[in-house]
């Protein structure tokens, strides 16, 4: 009888096995295969991994992708924390708070491809932003770095992924008991001390969850990088997709396995700092 409740997890377990477990095993298997121009040869070789680790390209791709991840994580964290803090502690009544929170999700009512591409005419050489700057006499020449650059990539990422930071942080902050803060203020703590010693520690779960979302999304992206950098910047997955485009499955699979390990390590790292499970239970 006690075993029976395990069955409740069976549907999810089956789904995970079929749609996650099996493909993952396949990818890992293929990553050890050899290949030539026309065929994948099912043997066991380490060449795919040796080439991957032996190539300076791999390291520069990871450096580039991690650079994006760090910048975007920092920016979305600042934005996510600030917006949530404002909504939770400064907006009254509760209905307005909820309404403003929903406003944050408005951009998500359209597809993220459209949201990203709409930056292109805005930031372009003859785009609205440059035209406005020139019209206002702030610059004489259009600013070229705005589009098809790292700047453009980061802007698009931050725009696309900020909500993934706002939602979990908002959620944790909303659960902070106002009495705790009142007590701190009564005891003479200033605003920043309250943030540092009460709000941040009690929002840790949300920050960790948001960070996992943002980091995983940036590490796994190739489309935003490709479009917003005008194809002039690469990410780990973009290189992988170039390999798949010419049917080089085994090296792409090896690259996927390594990326999976790297992202898993990052997530584990975040979870080591914040025990999400315990915080959620508490």
């Amino acid at each position: 009888m006690t075993r029976l409740h395990h069955l409740l997890a069976a549907p999810l377990a089956c789904l995970l096995l079929v749609f996650f477990g099996v493909p993952l095993v396949l990818v890992v298997t293929v990553s050890f295969f050899d290949f030539d121009q026309f065929d994948i040869i099912p043997t066991f070789v380490l060449t795919n991994y040796l080439e991957l680790f032996g190539s300076s390209l791999t390291y520069s791709l990871y450096a580039n992708t991690v650079k994006y991840a760090v910048i975007v994580w920092t920016l979305t964290l600042v934005i996510g924390f600030t917006v949530s803090y404002f909504l939770v502690f400064h907006v009254r009544p509760f209905l307005l708070q909820l309404a403003l929170f929903l406003v944050c999700t408005v951009p998500f009512w359209t597809s993220n491809v459209i949201r990203m591409i709409s930056w292109i005419p805005f930031l372009g050489r003859n785009g609205i932003f440059n035209q406005s700057l020139i019209a206002l006499g702030i610059v004489d020449q259009p600013l070229e770095f705005l589009l098809f650059s790292d700047f453009a990539v980061v802007i698009a990422y931050v725009h696309l992924f900020s909500l993934f930071m706002i939602v979990p942080i908002f959620n944790s902050m909303a659960r902070i008991d106002p009495a705790v803060i009142e007590a701190a203020v009564d005891a003479g703590a200033g605003r920043f001390r309250v943030i540092r010693e009460i709000v941040v520690p009690l929002s840790k779960t949300g920050i960790a969850m948001g960070s996992i979302f943002v980091v995983a999304l940036v590490m796994g992206d190739f489309f935003v990088v490709k479009i917003m950098s005008g194809g002039q910047s690469a990410s780990v997955v973009l290189a992988m997709s170039n390999e798949i485009a010419v049917l080089q499955y085994p090296p792409a699979a090896a690259s996927a396995v390594v990326l999976l390990l790297v992202v898993t390590a990052m997530v584990v790292g975040i979870l080591r700092i914040v025990d999400v499970r315990r915080e959620l239970a508490g």
């Binding site: 292109i120 010419v246 049917l247 080089q248």
Partner: protein
């Protein structure tokens, strides 16, 4: 009258009806309205459905509609990007009936045996196909450039079961050539303000931050090679099949150019190239012919520069898949014959592409359209695309001139290199540099 006789008479009368229909069809064919289709008379032909999978520029829904109407069975079009197509043909060949692809795909597909070699005895237009494809020659006997993958080099196999390319014409074709074109650089004359005559201008610092190339590694590197060779930095043995050393040198030059800020962007889709040009982000870039027209139809000056070094050409073909059998295979042959009977050729000509059987396409174009698209003559009236949108105003001449002036100057073909694996890795280095 016995029951048997009754059946016989019923059959006879049905046959007469069919004869009448055939006569009508014959008359229509004679008048050039249709090519005498359909010719298969199976009861269940209407249940047949052929799925053609190809690029958006060739697997066009209008062609499927017209084919379904003329042939009595269903043709369905599905489109995808280059890489998605190649992956699908190789990994899920049974989900496709007619592969619609660039010729260099054949290098991947024929050795894998996923295609049905076409019996040219059952294909009626082969002797009318432009000799670039059938013989690798121009009509005057000159050999066409073999840099890259010249369609002729992968056109034939030895026999119906063979997976080896034949160096000389045989009865077995790997694909029927469909649309093709000669690609060059698109220019914004209002900003460039001087004639552009060489590929090397792509790398000219004068256009720093305002030039672009195609971000499909195998094609982008060819455009780069045209520019690099034109500048005199490297003399390639075969631009379309570079050695590792040539790839290294090419990528190094590209990385230097990129670091100095030469390129504004690398584009992947048709629309991206149009937008880059129309918005003025880019003033010189590798481009496709209809994309140039698309820029112009927005009222923005743009032209497709004929360059001294010649064009980078590409060609598509359609091929039935190996899994087709019986009635479906018959329908596929029927479809191949219909495809080149003129309607499709006329349709795509009005988008700026060429048909491999120009003489049938001609019947589906007005004299003025033919004059503009194929003969390089000034348009007498406005030139419209197949949907009636204005493409060119009266008086305009096609950039690069007539069919043979353009296709006669092919410098290289879209390609798949032997060192493909190495090239893709180097290209990734270039993009991430």
């Amino acid at each position: 009258m016995s029951a048997k006789n009754k059946t016989l008479r019923r059959q006879l009368s049905r046959r007469e009806v069919l004869k009448g229909a055939a006569a009508t069809a014959g008359m229509l064919a004679a008048s050039g309205a249709i090519g005498g289709f359909p010719t298969i008379w199976a009861q269940n032909i209407k249940d047949v459905k052929l799925v053609q999978v190809g690029g958006s520029y060739s697997a066009i829904i209008d062609i499927a509609r017209q084919a379904s109407k003329d042939l009595g069975f269903q043709v369905e079009m599905q489109t995808g990007a280059h890489d998605a197509l190649l992956n699908r043909f190789v990994t899920q060949p049974n989900s496709v009936d007619i592969a619609d692809m660039e010729y260099f795909f054949l290098l991947h597909l024929v050795p894998r045996g996923v295609l049905h070699p076409i019996d040219l005895k059952k294909y009626k237009w082969w002797d009318k196909v432009v000799p670039i494809f059938t013989k690798g020659e121009y009509p005057d006997g000159r050999k066409v450039s073999t840099e890259g993958v010249l369609p002729f080099e992968v056109q034939y196999v030895d026999g119906p079961e063979s997976t080896k390319f034949s160096k000389r014409p045989t009865q077995w074709a790997n694909g029927i050539p469909t649309v093709y074109n000669a690609d060059t650089l698109g220019i914004r004359p209002d900003i460039v303000k001087r004639p552009i005559e060489h590929w090397r201008e792509l790398l000219n610092p004068e256009f720093k931050g305002k030039s672009a190339i195609l971000d499909v590694p195998s094609i982008g590197i060819m455009d780069a090679a045209m520019a690099i060779e034109s500048r005199g930095d490297i003399k390639y043995g075969d631009k379309g099949n570079m050695t590792k050393e040539e790839i290294d040198k090419t990528i190094k030059i590209l990385i230097d150019a990129k670091k100095s800020g030469q390129f504004r962007a690398f584009w992947t889709t048709f629309d991206e190239s149009v937008n880059l040009m129309a918005s003025g982000e880019v003033v010189i870039q590798s481009m496709w012919s209809p994309a140039v027209t698309a820029v112009r139809s927005r009222g923005i000056p743009c032209y497709y520069a004929p360059l001294k070094e010649g064009y980078r050409a590409w060609a598509s073909c359609i091929a039935p898949m190996r899994h087709l059998k019986g009635l479906k295979l018959d329908a596929a042959y029927e479809y191949l014959n219909w495809y080149q009977s003129g309607w499709q050729g006329g349709f795509i000509a009005k988008q700026g592409y060429y048909s491999s059987v120009p003489e049938t396409a001609k019947k589906f174009m007005t004299a003025d359209e033919w004059g503009y698209w194929y003969d390089g003559k000034p348009a007498k009236g406005d030139i419209k695309d197949p949907y009636g949108t204005l493409m060119e105003k009266a008086g305009q001449v096609r950039d690069g001139g007539s069919f043979w002036e353009r296709m006669g100057k092919v410098a290289c073909w879209n390609t798949l290199m032997d060192e493909n694996r190495y090239m893709v890795r180097k290209w990734n280095e270039f993009v991430s540099a």
